[in-house]
């Protein structure tokens, strides 16, 4: 669905953010795009949506260059930025002017999500709180039925019940024919939503694996000390160490700790990636 080939990009008067970046995004997957502040997650989403143009290389969506911003491509793509402003009009009016551009827009589904999120559609969009506006846009993104959804920090600004609602709505949505990219810092919010972990660091994709593959090859457990040779990465926690270890044959499945995995990938990328390159359980 999305093919990024040798993509280079730099903001004016800044060193290059991406130099020869390569990435493939396939439909039927929900990607968790993780990275430190300034890693370029938002820039990458802007490049995919055609809002920024690469200096060199390609970003193709269904074989069309994203920067061409073709209506056939854009009508099947929806981006939700982290920070945005909406016009001073009521929600229904806004839906009426935006929705016709999306041929698969489902008005009934939209109203269902808005009800679940408890958004007052009679209110002006500018009168809604930041979190409510975000929920409104999440509803619009899902109801557009666009097959490529780019969500930049979708849970930022949502209160705890809203985060649960978001997870519930996303889990209930039929995403089999869609490709969803969720960029976030809040890795814990996404544990149950994503099926692929993609980590962007120093202008490159340093890790890109399915949750299934991670679960097959790594164990996440609490250990007393971190001196075992099987430990790939560990962090001190209360009463011991949270550790990532190589999964041995016969080991039972452990819950994937995305935060620990992310820290491990950033701190010890070679250690973690070695396991996936070697392939298989030792």
């Amino acid at each position: 669905m999305v093919t990024i080939k040798n993509l280079s990009f730099a903001f004016k008067k800044n060193p290059p953010l991406f130099k020869g970046l390569n990435l493939k995004l396939e439909k039927g997957n929900t990607y968790g795009l993780f990275g430190l502040n300034g890693a370029g997650k938002t820039t990458l989403l802007n490049l995919i949506s055609g809002m920024l143009f690469p200096e060199s290389g390609h970003c193709l969506i269904h074989d069309s260059a994203a920067k061409e911003r073709l209506p056939e491509v854009l009508s099947d793509l929806f981006i939700l930025p982290e920070q945005f402003d909406l016009p001073k009009m009521d929600a229904l009016r806004y839906i009426n002017i935006q929705a016709p551009f999306y041929p698969n827009f489902d008005a009934e589904y939209m109203s269902q999500i808005l009800t679940e999120f408890q958004i007052d559609t009679g209110k002006k969009l500018t009168e809604l709180s930041y979190g409510q506006r975000k929920k409104f846009m999440i509803a619009l993104a899902l109801a557009s039925n666009a097959s490529l959804l780019l969500l930049d920090e979708p849970t930022n600004g949502l209160d705890i019940p809203s985060k649960s609602q978001f997870r519930k709505i996303m889990a209930a949505a039929d995403l089999t024919e869609r490709c969803v990219v969720i960029s976030t810092h809040q890795v814990r919010d996404l544990n149950t939503l994503i099926d692929r972990v993609t980590v962007l660091h120093s202008g490159d994709i340093i890790f890109d694996q399915t949750l299934q593959s991670i679960g097959n090859k790594l164990n996440f457990s609490k250990v007393k000390s971190d001196d075992s040779s099987s430990i790939l990465y560990s962090e001190e926690i209360l009463g011991g160490h949270a550790a990532i270890t190589t999964k041995q044959s016969g080991d039972s499945d452990t819950l994937i700790d995305l935060e620990l995995l992310f820290n491990g990938i950033i701190q010890q990328p070679e250690n973690i990636n070695r396991i996936f390159q070697n392939g298989g359980i030792s």
Binding site: S49, F53, P71, E72, D85, I97, F101
Partner: protein, 256 residues
């Protein structure tokens, strides 16, 4: 709900929906501008009409046409300057940049609203005011005054439309080129360009005269007849270039 076909070719239904979208997004601002312009016009016309009714007809509505057209032109250029505001604000640009429509449709809808639609609204507003003014004058001065009404096809309106077409293209270019204070920046840029043009023209004139050994140089082009071939041609060239540049910049626009 009406669905627009997601074709990559030009779509007339999508073009009209874009126009509707721009209108809905900007209607409050545009309506306020129209009311403000109409209010100013009524003040400059009603006051002299009511208090200084002249037998020579100096206070008649038609005598205020140039001033009225100038006020409407200012309103038109102000709304033209703001037509791409959604695109120029980082927090709203995504709505416009990822809107499934071609750049041609986005450009043409902006031009269509700020040029032909604006002219139609302006001329209709003046026609209505002229009609009302004739009735008021007849009531003040009696039926003998006669009923004169604004002719939208007169020379003043024709010149206004041509001048507006020219200025609209420059302000449309300013609207896409500058991020903030587009109206003022376009005026400043226009003045700077005119001064630069005059400066270069003078230098070239001096060099030309020195080369030919002549001792007189006149700036005849400044006082040339506005309908002259040079003036008309340069206006059309500048208008077309400004519109083409606006389209190219719109196509190349990226999020800030």
């Amino acid at each position: 709900m009406n669905r627009l076909e997601p074709t990559n070719a030009f779509s007339i239904s999508r073009f009209f929906h874009l126009c509707k979208r721009s209108f809905v997004l900007n209607q409050r601002q545009w309506l306020m501008g129209l009311l403000a312009s109409t209010g100013i016009i009524l003040v400059i016309w009603v006051v002299p009409t009511l208090f200084f009714v002249s037998e020579t007809g100096e206070t008649r509505f038609e005598n205020f046409h140039p001033a009225i057209l100038f006020i409407f032109m200012l309103w038109g250029l102000l709304l033209t300057s703001d037509i791409f505001q959604e695109l120029q604000t980082p927090s709203t640009a995504f709505q416009s940049l990822t809107l499934p429509a071609t750049s041609t449709e986005k450009f043409l809808s902006a031009w269509f609203l700020t040029m032909p639609v604006f002219l139609l609204v302006t001329i209709s507003a003046i026609f209505l005011m002229s009609f009302l003014s004739s009735i008021i004058i007849m009531m003040i001065e009696g039926a003998s005054t006669g009923f004169t009404i604004y002719n939208p096809f007169d020379e003043t309106t024709g010149k206004f439309a041509l001048n507006y077409l020219f200025l609209n293209s420059l302000f449309l270019l300013g609207a896409i080129y500058f991020r903030k204070n587009n109206f003022l920046k376009t005026i400043v840029a226009f003045i700077v360009l005119v001064i630069s043009f005059l400066f270069i023209w003078t230098i070239l004139g001096w060099l030309y005269m020195s080369f030919l050994g002549l001792d007189q140089f006149s700036f005849e082009f400044i006082n040339s007849d506005p309908t002259s071939m040079f003036d008309t041609l340069s206006r059309w060239v500048i208008t077309s270039t400004a519109l083409l540049l606006t389209y190219v910049l719109l196509k190349k626009q990226q999020v800030a």
